[in-house]
């Protein structure tokens, strides 16, 4: 399916967004004979840090795609700050919502251009500051061409962790009001992971954040969690509450602890 999103004739332009998000009975599929979201309703308040969990393929990234209007809902509606997303200018959404995702989008260009992408007016000083906060500055400076090193399509010159830090620098520079973190499935070495989580912590500060995570340990700082299953929000609450419920979250958690035990035993 190819996204085909345009502005409604009466679309509103918002200078900033606060980040109050309401999903109201949202239904969505990429392919009509395979519904992904059946009836999803939830409310996120500005300033919240929400964790979204669920099995692989349950529709977590899809929810992120709908908020940013990569795709439009099939039924129900999504609103941001009380405006239906279909009536907000796409440009407003792009400017205020940052996704740091599994699929890091780096285009062919220099590292500096890639970081500045969302804010072409940023000064080089701001670019360097953002890279520094993202723990990317040091590895960038060690490249023979520094911030002018060409990266892009294949990006065999950068490791996965380095690419991710560049995308975090980009998001930091953008100063988004809403941040969506869609954690990479690929395992990273602990060092890289530490550098990245340190950078992400800075990014989250003071922003409405939705964290989609596979490793439940990444979710420890969330105010509350939502678990998605069979196209619906199956559970909502703090990690402790969901553990007590013995539902989806509990299952994911025990599954992961068992895998961890196996890994540890294997060492």
């Amino acid at each position: 399916m190819i996204p085909d999103i345009t502005d409604a004739p009466n679309a509103v332009e918002l200078e900033t967004i606060r980040g109050d998000i309401v999903f109201d009975h949202v239904g969505f599929h990429y392919n009509p004979n395979r519904p992904i979201l059946k009836d999803v309703s939830f409310t996120i308040h500005a300033g919240d840090h929400v964790g979204l969990v669920g099995h692989t393929g349950s529709g977590k990234s899809t929810i992120a795609n709908l908020i940013t209007r990569m795709y439009d809902v099939i039924s129900g509606s999504i609103s941001i700050d009380g405006h239906n997303v279909k009536e907000i200018k796409v440009e407003t959404l792009r400017r205020n919502i940052a996704i740091v995702s599994q699929e890091i989008y780096l285009f062919r260009g220099t590292i500096a251009e890639n970081i500045r992408y969302a804010r072409p007016d940023a000064t080089m000083e701001e670019v360097i500051d953002a890279a520094r906060a993202a723990n990317a500055h040091d590895f960038i400076m060690r490249l023979p061409e520094g911030y002018e090193t060409l990266i892009g399509i294949g990006s065999r010159s950068l490791s996965g962790g380095e690419r991710q830090r560049i995308s975090i620098a980009r998001a930091l520079l953008m100063k988004p009001s809403l941040l969506i973190l869609d954690e990479a499935t690929a395992a990273m070495d602990t060092e890289t992971e530490r550098l990245i989580s340190d950078a992400i912590e800075k990014l989250i500060k003071g922003r409405t954040t939705i964290t989609i995570a596979h490793r439940l340990s990444t979710l420890k700082d969330c105010n509350y969690l939502m678990a998605i299953e069979h196209g619906e929000i199956a559970e909502q609450g703090t990690a402790e509450e969901l553990m007590e419920k013995k539902g989806v979250y509990y299952k994911l958690y025990t599954l992961q602890s068992e895998q961890m035990k196996k890994v540890m035993a294997g060492l």
Partner: protein
């Protein structure tokens, strides 16, 4: 290397160590930074902190943020990478070289030109691994050289355009513009690192 003891168990990697003992990079200006030529012909730095405290760096490494379009701006000044301290931290950034006096400008430029002079490797004579340090002998456009590389995964870089850069522990850089032009014996010596 099971016998190698690391003090901070979390800081087994140099990059990680850098994260743990980070120093705040500052803007370097003629007011807080005095560069001079050290005895060994290297660059020393005397830094005055915001509270008047002084720090002396016997040797610093200078790097360009934008070596192609802006070689005189945003110059990073770092502690060198040594065997003891592993990766050096950034001490500060010079916004524009020309803020400094003529002698300092000449000193910094000379060091930068040396640093960004990148000999081309024509033939690799040998690469020997000793406890994670790799001792290289090679024939380059600047003659026969020997150098030492640590942390292979981050010090051998393959860029988008296939050029290979190799950084040694002293901050020198060597390049292989087209690996397919290397002779077979040379290629065999490096292929496992690529």
């Amino acid at each position: 290397m099971a016998e190698t003891k690391v003090q901070n168990p979390a800081a087994e990697n140099d990059e990680d160590a850098a994260l743990f003992e980070k120093r705040e990079s500052v803007m370097l200006t003629p007011e807080n930074a005095v560069f001079s030529r050290s005895e060994g012909g290297l660059i020393s730095l005397d830094l005055t902190g915001p509270d008047g405290e002084r720090e002396h760096f016997e040797r610093v490494v200078v790097l360009r943020s934008f070596p192609i379009t802006d070689p005189d701006e945003y110059i990073a000044v770092r502690e060198p990478e040594t065997r003891k301290s592993r990766r050096g931290h950034e001490i500060g950034l010079i916004r524009h070289i020309r803020e400094f006096d003529e002698a300092t400008v000449a000193l910094l430029n000379e060091e930068l030109d040396r640093r960004y002079f990148t000999p081309e490797i024509h033939r690799i004579l040998s690469v020997k691994d000793k406890l994670g340090y790799y001792y290289w002998d090679a024939e380059t456009s600047a003659g026969k050289v020997s150098f030492v590389v640590n942390n292979i995964s981050s010090n051998i870089r393959i860029l988008e355009d296939e050029r290979i850069f190799i950084f040694d522990i002293d901050g020198n850089c060597f390049q292989i513009s087209d690996v397919t032009k290397l002779d077979r014996a040379s290629y065999r010596k490096i292929e496992i690192y690529l």
